[in-house]
Subunit: 339 residues, 2 copies
């Protein structure tokens, strides 16, 4: 593993430093070659750093700022007032070469907007997208994008998402010729918005991409395809719907019961019978895999869930480190030139 | 219960008569006041009617036609060639007063298109919508619409969906002042398409409706609101995503295991500890509750899942019968005039 530095916006997310700082320490413990720049309010950060081992302390730097972008700010306002905010400083640190990647749990629209302005999209990419790995029922992963960065998309945008997703899947999931599908309300050619139907035509013509057709919402977890493509509005709704369903099912299984004495027996039995299945079910839970990537940019930017817990935010940091080491942006650029 | 007749398009759906006819018999058994007109190919229908009790046989009538609308036909083509098809004849039977409601598992776009032309939308309704009851994690139901009838919707359409959904929830779920939310990618005012934001403004101004804000995909099952409103594309993706997640989880729990001898113990334990929860989980499965309603029309039209099994199609028939008896269209009309 190579030495690397990530810039974190520790003020982002629903909770802020109370989650992001312990998560940062966890990531540093896990990865001895990792250094972190923590952008945020030092008064809120330092209480979580008392009594930490020297080996961790020397790999983190607090970069104080009292400004931050709020979750409910409109994009225009957020960008106009972004100077000196934790999110913007973190992105600028990447642009200046102080860090090789950036993580934030803050305002998605602002993160995308600032990243596009400061880090720039890769040459040839019209719209960077938000991408995540979706666990499948067979214990593998599919790549899904866009998950909320681009509300309205035309056919060309969707085509580029497919291309980026395919390159991401090739590298991150070690796949050859990943199967690509467009998320739609039916499998027949005539279904859906015009943009989707045009994108399907473009993808069918491109023999370099393994386009297999439309996929409906009920097959998202089945591992039928490796790359699931949609506009950001639909993708966001679908992902959150999946997450909600998984969380609710787990809550049901852990549900209240008057038969407390029988619970240990059930736990033992579940682990005997379904240990692997149960782990897979839990992996649909966003707390377990959190971390979406803004792809199509010149550098790695990872957007964590606003409601990420400690484990989830630390996974987002690990994910950013992995992408930097795997040189995902460079590979996307090379892939773009190849097509 | 009052005597009533429903017209069925028995050729619709992925399977056709092999599912729809046994389902029809099941519905007739359940409801002794129900009569059915079966529109479809008598050669395919009759094999399933040999040796049925006289009490059932006298309450069903085969209305032969060899024509049907295919699932993959475009709307324009389907409508132009709809004359004499099982779907169209079933809808016309309602229009002529031979039946009080209609059920089909066929092409959704064609069903909506023909229903609008033949049965007409209720006075004042711009676009009828596809509505379903969504089970919540607490064992109750929410109303969700539109689920696929209207791909593109403006603010006025969404507003009318909210209004229709509210009236449906009042009657079908026995609620006073049902809580209405718009499905969106965030809870903040600034999120989502312009149409959603404008619809939110319209709903906020209407004090007759209990609009409570935006709802994200992860809260669809939580029973936080009674009426979930979206355009047909998003609603369809969200519903199918939920269904897929529920099916996959049930498949996981039933998953293969080498410990066959322990399975009866697990079943017993699940029923002891979580009987109610487990039933709720299963109720998210579309086979258990199937049946969406086209609302905003002058008569009851129920669209069954294309992939409905016998139980699901028979539930769709029961649902249509209930709506006729509850006089849902008339109540929506009265509600529209009241607002």
């Amino acid at each position: 593993m190579s030495r690397l530095t990530l810039a974190l916006d520790v003020m982002g997310g629903d909770i802020g430093p109370r989650i992001t700082i312990p998560a940062s320490l966890k990531a540093l413990e896990y990865d001895p070659m990792l250094s972190l720049l923590l952008f945020g309010d030092s008064q809120q950060i330092t209480p979580f750093l008392s009594n930490i081992p020297k080996a961790l302390a020397e790999r983190l730097t607090i970069c104080h700022t009292s400004h931050q972008i709020e979750n409910n700010q409109g994009l225009t306002y957020a960008l106009r007032h972004s100077k000196g905010t934790s999110m913007r400083l973190a992105i600028e640190a990447v642009q200046k070469g102080m860090a090789q990647g950036c993580v934030s749990a803050g305002n998605t629209a602002a993160l995308m907007g600032l990243s596009k302005v400061i880090l720039q999209p890769l040459k040839g990419i019209q719209r960077p997208a938000l991408l995540a790995l979706l666990p499948t029922i067979e214990g593998k992963y599919s790549v899904m994008l866009d998950l909320g960065a681009n509300i309205d998309c035309d056919a060309e945008n969707l085509y580029q998402f497919a291309l980026m997703g395919s390159i991401f899947a090739e590298n991150q999931l070690n796949l050859v010729y990943p199967r690509i599908a467009l998320l739609n309300i039916g499998e027949e050619e005539i279904k859906g918005h015009q943009a989707i139907r045009f994108a399907a035509e473009m993808l069918e013509k491109d023999t370099a991409l393994n386009y297999v057709g439309f996929i409906e919402g009920n097959y998202l977890l089945n591992g039928k395809v490796d790359v699931i493509v949609s506009d950001g509005f639909t993708g966001n709704i679908a992902l959150k719907t999946l997450e909600g369903a998984a969380k609710n099912v787990i809550a049901l299984l852990k549900g209240k019961s008057r038969h407390h004495l029988l619970k240990p027996l059930l736990s033992w039995l579940m682990s005997k019978l379904f240990s692997e299945s149960y782990q897979r079910l839990k992996s649909i839970n966003p707390d377990q895999y959190n971390g979406a990537s803004l792809i199509g940019l010149t550098s790695v930017v990872v957007k964590s869930h606003g409601g990420a817990n400690e484990q989830a935010f630390s996974n987002a940091i690990k994910d950013a480190a992995l992408q930097v080491r795997q040189q995902i942006p460079q590979k996307i650029l090379a892939g773009l030139e190849k097509y």
